[in-house]
Structure formats: C-alpha cells, structure tokens
C-alpha cells in the first residue's frame, strides 16, 4: 500500500525533479552504458572498417564491401605474420605452461627452504618493464652471437609467460580443499594415484586458464617481440610497421575475427563450467 502511494506521488513532482530523481536512481546503469561505450569504441571502429572498400590505406570510409572478409590474406604479409604469431604463441604456451605449472605445484603445495625467495623470483619478471626484458634478452643473444629471430622470440615469450602461469595455477591450487586429497589417501590411493585422479583434475581448469592467458599474452606482445624477432614479422609487429602508412583492411578483419573467436571461447567455457556445476 505504502509503496503504491509513493509511486502515485511522483507525477505531481515538477519535470526537472523527476529527471534528477530518475538519474539518481539509475546512476549505476547510466555509468555502465558510458563505460561500455568507451570500452567498445575502438572495437566497433576496427570491425566497421574491416568492411571498408579501402584499397591500400584504410583511413577514410570509401564504401561497404565483403571483399576483405572473403579474402583475409589479400594484403601482402598479413597472413604470414598471423601464422608466425600463432606458431610462436603455441610454442611459448606449451613451454611456459609446463614450467609454470611445475613451479606452481612446488610453491603452492610444499613448505620448503627458499619458498619466499622463489615467490620473489616469480614476481620479478612481472615487475620488470617489457622494454627492459626485451632489451636485456637481445643483449644476451648478441653476446652469444645468436641472431634475433623465431626461436629467440619464443624463448623471450616464455620468460614473461611463466610468471603469469605460476600465479594463475597457484591460485587454483590454493583454493583446493585439502580434505579431498586426504579422503583419497584414506581410500588407499597412493600418492601418485591421488595426484592423477584427484589433484590434477581439480587443478586442470586453472592450468587451462593459465595456458589461455599465456597464449593471449604471447599473441598480443609487441615490445619484447620487436626486440628479439629480427626479420620475423608477427601480427602486432605487422600492424606497428604499417601503422605509419595506414594498415590494410585485412588486418581489421583478422583483429575482428580474433575478437569474436575469443568471445565465443570464453562464453562456451562459461556455459560448460556452469553445466558441470549443475550436474
């Protein structure tokens, strides 16, 4: 009753007061609309200009076409750069996930001498600016007369991915209920069986998340790659180099496709994990 009376009293207020009341009530929603608009402006722009019938320089809107999407490798070097980024990303992900997961288990599961020093060693690469990491690795490669290129780039990517893998997997290990492992042991599983049948499946989502993170970090990296890749061109490097004279619309196609692919992956992942929780 009282609620209804309150509602009924609103129309009698002057318009200005009504508006300010509405704004006050919806402040958070209004803020969210602004924030998401801001977040999506460059994405929308990139997507829109992937349909631009632009020729070589994709700076001004010249007309709508599907050509760029039908022929994403149409611009020179775009697809070889993309291929390099994928190859480097996959290799860096595999190595950093293996090394990082082992470290995460050691730090997350055991109390040992030098544990805090180990934590520090993991934190340091994350606190080091990328340019310092990239420059220092290049100096080392130059000393050993290794010319920058594909493999030096893979190694450089592993360096900064490992720490992120450790942090992600460690968080998952820390959230495990130790009683589950105790229960397995009580049921006469030995240490290895417990690890394989209980611990590992429980930590697996964390490892998967870490691998995805490592891949996206590697795939999107520019600064460290620029220092260590020599003549090998990755996708970010391709965009950087062609930015001065306008990047081809095909780069927008690839960027947009990556966006939708990643979005689909994340949504599928969420749906799967929710279904698991329900069952």
């Amino acid at each position: 009753m009282t609620v209804k009376q309150k509602d009924a009293s609103i129309p009698t207020l002057p318009l200005g007061a009504q508006i300010s009341r509405w704004i006050g009530r919806n402040l958070i929603r209004i803020y969210m609309v602004f924030a998401f608009t801001y977040l999506f402006i460059p994405v929308a722009y990139t997507f829109a200009f992937s349909f631009n019938d632009s020729g070589k320089s994709n700076l001004i809107w010249k007309g709508f076409t599907f050509d760029n999407w039908m022929n994403p490798c149409g611009a020179p070097e775009v697809c070889s750069a993309l291929g390099n980024s994928i190859k480097i990303g996959l290799l860096a992900t595999i190595f950093s996930t293996i090394l990082g997961t082992m470290i995460a288990f050691a730090i997350g599961r055991y109390a040992f001498k030098g544990r805090s020093a180990s934590n520090l060693l993991i934190f340091l690469p994350m606190a080091t600016p990328e340019i310092v990491l990239g420059a220092s690795l290049l100096s080392l490669f130059l000393v050993f007369q290794i010319s920058p290129g594909f493999w030096p780039t893979v190694l450089a990517h592993v360096v900064f991915c490992v720490s992120f893998v450790v942090v992600t997997v460690k968080a998952r290990i820390a959230s495990l209920d130790p009683r589950l492992e105790q229960a397995a042991m009580d049921l006469y599983a030995n240490e290895f069986q417990t690890f394989r049948r209980v611990t590992l499946p429980l930590v697996a989502p964390g490892i998967a998340a870490a691998a995805l993170l490592a891949f996206s970090l590697s795939f999107d990296d520019f600064i460290i790659t620029n220092f260590n890749s020599g003549t090998v061109t990755t996708f970010p490097k391709f965009v950087y180099v062609s930015a001065a004279r306008g990047i081809p619309a095909q780069a927008n196609v690839i960027g947009s496709a990556m966006f939708f692919l990643a979005l689909a992956l994340v949504i599928v992942g969420q749906v799967v994990s929710r279904k698991r929780k329900v069952s």
Binding site: I28, Y31, M32, A35, F36, Y38, L39, P42, V43, Y45, T46, F49, L59, I98, G100, I103, A106, I107, R109, Y110, F112, L121, F123, P125, M126, A127, T128, P129, E130, I131, V132, L133, A135, S136, L137, L138, S139, V143, L155, V159, V162, V166, E191, S216, F222, I223, N226, F227, V239, Y240, A243, I247, G255, S256, M258, F259, L261, A262, L263, V266
Partner: protein, 282 residues
Amino acid sequence: MKKISTPYLLLIPGFAFLFIFFILPIANLAQTSTQTPLLNGDTGQYEQTFRFANYIDAFIENREQFSRSFIYAIIATLIALLISYPLAYALAFKAGKYKNILLVLVVAPFFTSFLLRTVAWKQILGEEGFVVPSLRTIGVISESTTLTSTSFAVVMGMTYNFLPFMTLPLYASIDRIDPRTLEASGDLYANGFTTFRKVTLPLSMPGVVAGTLLTFIPAAGDYVNAQILGSPNTKMLGNVIESRYFKIVDYPTAAALSFTLMAAILILVTIYIRKAGTEELV
C-alpha cells in the same frame, strides 16, 4: 610422507630457465651499461671500462623523457582507477544475474590486438575521425586544435590499453567483500559515503594496490602509445631506449636507461606498497 626433494625437483627446470633467460640477461645488461665505445672500432662495438658516469650522462640527456614517462604513467593509472572502480563495484554488487556476461564484456575489447586498438584510437581521434569535427562544431575545441600527436592522446591511449589490468584485480577484490558488512555499516547509521570510506574502500585495498601496480608498471615502460598517438614532443623513456638500440646502436646508454627505469619503478613500487600497507601482491 612427502619427500623433501620433491619441491626442488619441480622447481629446477623452471628456475634454470629463468636463470638463463632472465637473471643472466639482466646481469649482462648491467655490465653493458658501463661500457664505452671501442677506440677505432665500428659502430656498435664496445669495451668494458666500468664507466658509471654513463648513467649520469644518460639521465641528464633524457631527463625530459624520463619525467614524462612517470608523469604520463601516474596520470593514466589514476584515470584508470577512477574509471575502473565504479565499474568493478557495479559488476560485483549491482550486476545480479548479468555478472558473468558483463565481466566477459569488460575483458572482450582486449581480445583484439593491442596495436589495432591503438591505431583505431589514432584514427578515431584523428582529423578524419568523428570526434574532432564534432567537438569543433559544438565549440569545445578550436579549429586549430588537434587531439592526436598530443600528450592527451598518449595518456588516453595508455589509460584505455591498460584498463583491464586495473578492472580485474579491483573486481576480484570487491567481489570478495561480504555484502553483510555494508549492511552492518548502514545499520550502525553510517551514510553511503561513510560506508564507502570506512568499509568498502579499506576492504578493497588489495585490489587497488594490485591494480595500480599492474597498470603503472607497463605504462611507465610503454612506448607504443607514445609512438602511435604522440609526437616527438611526447616521447617517453621507452622510445629513447628503442631508438638507442635500433637506430643509433648505442647499447650502453640504452642499458643504463633501462636500469634507471627499472630501479625507479622498483623504488616507487616499494614505497607505494609500504604506504598502502599490504604485502599481498598478486
């Protein structure tokens, strides 16, 4: 039951790798930073003379870019905090059943390449974009004012590009707050503002610290935004290091500048963590 050697065996491969490809390069960089050009040598040939004055020379020569790096990074971090805090708060407390989907949407823009996003901003803020002409029409900026090639564009590019590093730790931290503590504060006659200042903000401090660090560190070392969105007058330390390496082949100066940058960041970060009073970083 657990063997003592197990953790060490698990650590060996990873730490051996980090030793060779992280510790060793940094040590080598330290060594390079005190070298001087080889007499009668080619460009790019240096010998070890332990000339620590390299640091002073490098700093004096580039103090402008040095201070610019830190000022830009601090401003970008603060703006990112101002944008992200309400966003993370809304996601944690007000999004209801849309929480997960909105969280995905916050991260989604960063699935497109970092470089593409920056180039997109350059074109949006550029002369052919829609922002500059419309701002001119409504008279916010004059006919001769441009938005690209300014420090404004560089700072705004950095703010945008490093935003998820701020939003995600903040969200993680605010989401952990038990809403009943906020109710309790209200029951004890605190108004909204007092509740925020005395309850929400202190409880979310780990997120604020982690977020500001994760934003500040890459921002201070960045040179991509300054390169694409800026002009020669907005060059940061990263730009100098890059050009010393590739264009001038002056490795000692580049190394000295890298070390100065890293030391300055570490000192700032240490002071900040002490002041903010949390040791829990990640």
